[in-house]
């Protein structure tokens, strides 16, 4: 797994629960060092171990932790550059959801060796979509749920986002747009730092 993913788990834990909590999780996951390098590649099993360890330390279900991580990726100040990159996906939430098909390609444009599972967005009706993460690790759909809910808030859109479980080897997330202009979204300027 790419170090960016593991590092995101580390940053989430540290920023939300403190350095001490992260060190405990890192120790119980049997990590040699408590710091992931964002630009290096790690064994896939490490990611599963640290998510499990973080959940154990927080005494929460891994699915809840993953959802919080997805939310953190969009909302925390440290992740502001990532949130900006996501906002490039569309001018409104509907366009953003439909752009998710291209997300793995966009990610690879940014970081050549970052491989995301193939994402597929199927329209299920007006303002309704089913997001499928083909071959993604079990439960990773929860991270997508947290991320999508935070992005809906970011756009000021009222949307219903729910985990549907693993269907035919794909993590499935249902998305329903309830009100496009529900609230004032967070500002987004194309110009960096504007």
């Amino acid at each position: 797994m790419h170090g960016l993913i593991n590092r995101a788990v580390q940053d989430f834990m540290r920023d939300s629960y403190g350095a001490e909590a992260w060190l405990r999780a890192a120790r119980s996951a049997g990590l040699e060092t408590a710091d992931f390098e964002p630009m290096l590649i790690y064994d896939d099993a490490v990611t599963e171990r640290i998510v499990a360890a973080v959940a154990a330390v927080l005494q929460r279900r891994p699915s809840d932790v993953l959802e919080d991580i997805g939310h953190y990726l969009v909302t925390h100040e440290r992740m502001a550059p990532l949130r900006r990159l996501l906002r490039f996906g569309g001018v409104d939430f509907a366009e953003f959801v439909q752009s998710l098909d291209d997300l793995p390609d966009w990610a690879r444009l940014a970081v050549e060796d970052l491989r995301l599972p193939p994402l597929e967005v199927r329209e299920t009706g007006p303002g309704g979509w089913l997001l499928r993460l083909q071959g993604a690790p079990r439960g990773s759909g929860y991270a997508a749920v947290g991320m999508l809910r935070a992005m809906a808030d970011d756009y000021g859109t009222l949307a219903f986002v729910e985990y549907q479980g693993a269907i035919e080897g794909a993590e499935c997330v249902q998305i329903r747009l309830l009100e496009q202009d529900f609230a004032e979204g967070r500002a987004f300027q194309l110009a960096a730092g504007a």
Partner: protein, 335 residues
């Protein structure tokens, strides 16, 4: 022309239409975002100046550039760079503009949004790429800095004796070789602890380590900035003294070191006592480091033989004794 204008407004929102005199008759919606009124009613040369091809000053010359790539800038600040293409349309002409490489400045200067660009325009992808690559590059640079720090630490450890913090034998040999190459004169002082084995045997390793650290502190204390104190291994120390050649000064320094080392060293409420024997050799022009170390060994051997707690400076009449000192023996077997 009106139907064409509506078409072009969507396909190329940054275009202008000019009449045969070069006056702007229509401007796309994004051009209206960039300049009040989109420049409509003004002459095209009041809106932009053509940088390349050079020397374009009349409307007729501009019209002749049909189909070629134009480089232009706005006449008034911000003087954003533009790429353009002029296509004749009957007597009139359409010029489509884009930002090209200046797109990052433009979106900042004009507060542009994705809606200001045609959906087929790659501007947004380009902006994404610039930001994504900058973030990825920053992360890579941070990694590089950490790796460089780790490398420097590893290099420092490779030449450092971890117990005393002095340079190690490897560093000593390297330093001597470098000075020999540079032709720099120096004195090499080899310092062998006396009675150290007794401390080690009767008081144990911890006490011995304490003594060695203390010796390190003494040698650092007497060193000038350019001197290099060394723990060469076990209870063998050395001091490289660049530019020092006066026997009297060297003798005084050796006595100072021996006196300091003979001070009782407190350990767990007890006083440990050691001393030291010192052999000194002065570098000679054209002589390699090995030869200087061999002569310092000889002097050290002579000092030991003359009784402990003494120093000897190598002279030409010190010949190799039959009994080879332990350092010389070790060096001989390691070669």
């Amino acid at each position: 022309m009106e139907a064409v204008a509506a078409l072009l407004d969507q396909l190329c929102p940054m275009h202008v239409q000019i009449d045969p005199e070069g006056v702007i008759r229509h401007a796309g919606p994004t051009m209206h975002r960039l300049r009040e009124g989109g420049g409509v009613g003004e002459h095209i040369f009041d809106l932009v100046s053509v940088r390349r091809p050079q020397g374009v000053t009349t409307t007729a010359e501009l019209m002749r550039l049909a189909g070629r790539k134009l480089h232009a800038t706005f006449r008034t600040p911000p003087r954003t760079g533009l790429k353009g293409l002029l296509v004749p349309f009957g007597e009139e002409a359409v010029i489509n503009f884009s930002f090209g490489i200046s797109v990052t400045d433009a979106v900042r200067d004009y507060g542009m949004t994705a809606k200001d660009f045609a959906p087929t325009d790659l501007a947004v992808e380009m902006l994404y790429l610039v930001e994504a690559k900058s973030a990825a590059m920053a992360a890579t640079q941070r990694l590089n800095r950490r790796l460089q720090g780790a490398k420097e630490e590893a290099e420092e450890q490779a030449v450092t004796d971890l117990l005393t913090g002095l340079r190690n034998r490897r560093a000593m040999e390297h330093t001597l070789a470098r000075m020999a190459e540079a032709g720099q004169g120096y004195a090499l002082m080899e310092i062998d602890l006396d009675y150290f084995k007794q401390v080690n045997d009767s008081e144990g390793h911890a006490a011995a380590d304490h003594v060695l650290r203390k010796v390190g502190a003494v040698l650092r204390g007497v060193s000038r900035r350019e001197d290099v104190p060394v723990r060469a291994g076990g209870d063998e120390f050395a001091l490289i003294l660049p530019g020092l050649s006066a026997p009297r000064r060297i003798g005084a320094l050796a006595r100072q070191i021996i006196c300091a080392l003979e001070e009782p060293i407190e350990w767990s409420g007890r006083n440990l006592r050691i001393s030291a024997s010192i052999g000194v050799a002065l570098s000679e022009a054209g002589q390699d480091a090995e030869a200087v170390m061999r002569r310092a060994d000889l002097a050290l051997y002579a000092a030991k033989r003359a009784g402990r707690g003494r120093s000897v400076i190598h002279r030409a009449d010190l010949t190799l004794p039959l009994e080879i000192g332990k350092r010389a023996a070790r060096r001989a077997t390691s070669q």
